[in-house]
Amino acid sequence: MILLKHELRSNFRSLLIWAGCVGFGCLGCLLLFEGIKDSIEPMAELYGKMGAFSVALGMDKLNVASMEGYFATEIALIFAVGGAMFAAMTGAVMLSKEEEGHTAEFLYTLPFDRVSVVFWKYGAMALLILLFQLICIVAIALGLAGAGESLDGKTLALYYGSQLLMQLEVGSVCFLLSALCRKKQIGAALGFSVFLYMADVMCRIVPDLEILKYATPFYFSNAADIFVNKAVESAPALIGLGVLLASPVLSAAIYQKRDISA
């Protein structure tokens, strides 16, 4: 618990900056909707018939001139990519920052066993992701209220749940990366999260790459799919859950045996 509090305190500023940027972005775009709705309307049909581009952004399924379509194609993109980047960055620094910052000799000579360090640091990462989500959800709710719009609560809850799973999966993989590295791999982590988003886009456009849908958590958490089907595709989501559970176990196993550089 001491480590959890310590990590939350250390990452609080980063959380506020990221959640503020993404949340404010979502809020701003939602408030713009009322003003741009009329100008989007004539183009909505065109947006839906732009072939691969429309498929990639989910505009073939939903009307972007409706709040549901606008939310699933525009707001969800900011929320998903921003959230994944935050999760990736948070996970990637959790363990490796101690060695890079030369604080490992202080932390690992306190009476914590390494498994508990991994456990509490993983818990802190998960909690930071959850707090990020909550801040963004509040911002989105304010945006919807400000725009005088509403969305189906059940679908929205399903979407937020899938987003949480997606961000935790991205964070978990990057957490594993941080158990393997002695330096903070922020660039690699951010690149990894963007790659996962691109993998989702590609597997939707190129039929031969459909298998990628099992590898990228952006697939099962895609807002357009969830708003149309009112469900989350279970197989990729279960794989995500498996990754999420395996990652801390693997991280602990690696970290337990590793020499820490001071």
Partner: protein, 286 residues
């Protein structure tokens, strides 16, 4: 590992081997430090002092050999060991954005102990400003924070890795006063250093380490009385210098044969002793 019935050891290291790639950081280190001792661990930079300490504290895991700290197994009882050990690393690094008081509190909380009074006492003695952030501190002041973190919980064993580097002479005095005070209360002190005078002044026993090997372990008194003597003699207005190792009678006999007009027999400094033991070790191996 052979255990003595009468003596209790704070540190027992048996055949410690640690390689960094092909380079040996520790090459068969065996060492025993009695409880209640102030033990000096002497060696030049890169000799393997920090490697041995990091193995003792479990920061390094992939080593061969056996380590027992306070009669506990170094591999399996690491948590219990660390709760009774205070460690001051050679480079004191903390979280830059944290305040000094928060770092001290974190170290105390990790041990689940209320150490506020002791921490306040040490901070006052070392003149530590607890309201400052770590990033605002000089190396010397970070060292002071490290001393507080290592001592506030009154550990049974203090492991100090080059503790005085970065501390001004006045603070070094205060620091050693603290060490002696804790030692009087029963704390064993393991002092790794390359500053020989401080070891001679404060330690009862010491070990010399070089290239990952222990060259010699003995009481500081015996190490100082190695039988090595620096001889300066004057004969017919010319000065001659030589080193002598062995019985005093032999030296007197040799001097009588040389018939000097004047002679000066000196004890070597610990620096010279270190070189002497090192040369002896090399000679023995050759």
């Amino acid at each position: 590992m052979e255990r003595s019935e009468e003596k209790r050891y704070a540190i027992e290291i048996c055949d410690l081997v640690k390689f960094y790639g092909k380079k040996a950081g520790a090459d068969g280190i065996s060492l025993r430090v009695e409880e209640g001792d102030i033990f000096g661990f002497l060696g030049p930079n890169g000799a393997g002092k920090s490697t041995a300490i990091r193995c003792m504290l479990g920061i390094l895991r992939s080593y061969e050999g056996e380590i027992r700290i306070l009669s506990m197994d170094g591999r399996r009882q690491r948590r219990e060991i660390l709760s009774q050990v205070g460690y001051m690393p050679s480079e004191a690094m903390f979280y830059p954005s944290m305040k000094v008081k928060d770092v001290i509190r974190l170290a105390a909380d990790a041990r689940g102990r209320e150490c506020e009074k002791e921490a306040e006492k040490i901070c006052a003695q070392l003149e530590v400003n607890t309201e400052k952030r770590i990033r605002e501190l000089s190396l010397g002041n970070r060292k002071k924070v490290s001393i507080v973190c290592a001592m506030q919980h009154k550990p049974r064993l203090l492991v100090l890795d080059e503790p005085t580097s970065g501390l001004d002479p006045l603070m070094q005095e205060v620091f050693f006063e603290l060490i002696c005070e804790y030692n009087r209360q029963g704390t064993t002190c393991f002092l790794s250093s390359h500053v020989l005078p401080e070891v001679k002044k404060y330690c009862r026993n010491a070990a010399f380490i070089r290239d990952g090997k222990i060259i010699r372990t003995d009481s500081v008194e015996n190490l100082s009385r190695s039988g090595l003597r620096r001889i300066r003699l004057w004969k017919q207005g010319r000065e001659q210098r030589f080193d002598y190792t062995g019985e005093t009678n032999g030296l007197l006999h040799k001097l009588a044969q040389m018939k000097p007009e004047d002679v000066l027999i000196e004890e070597p400094s610990l620096d010279e002793l270190f070189l002497h033991y090192y040369e002896e070790e090399k000679g023995g191996k050759a």
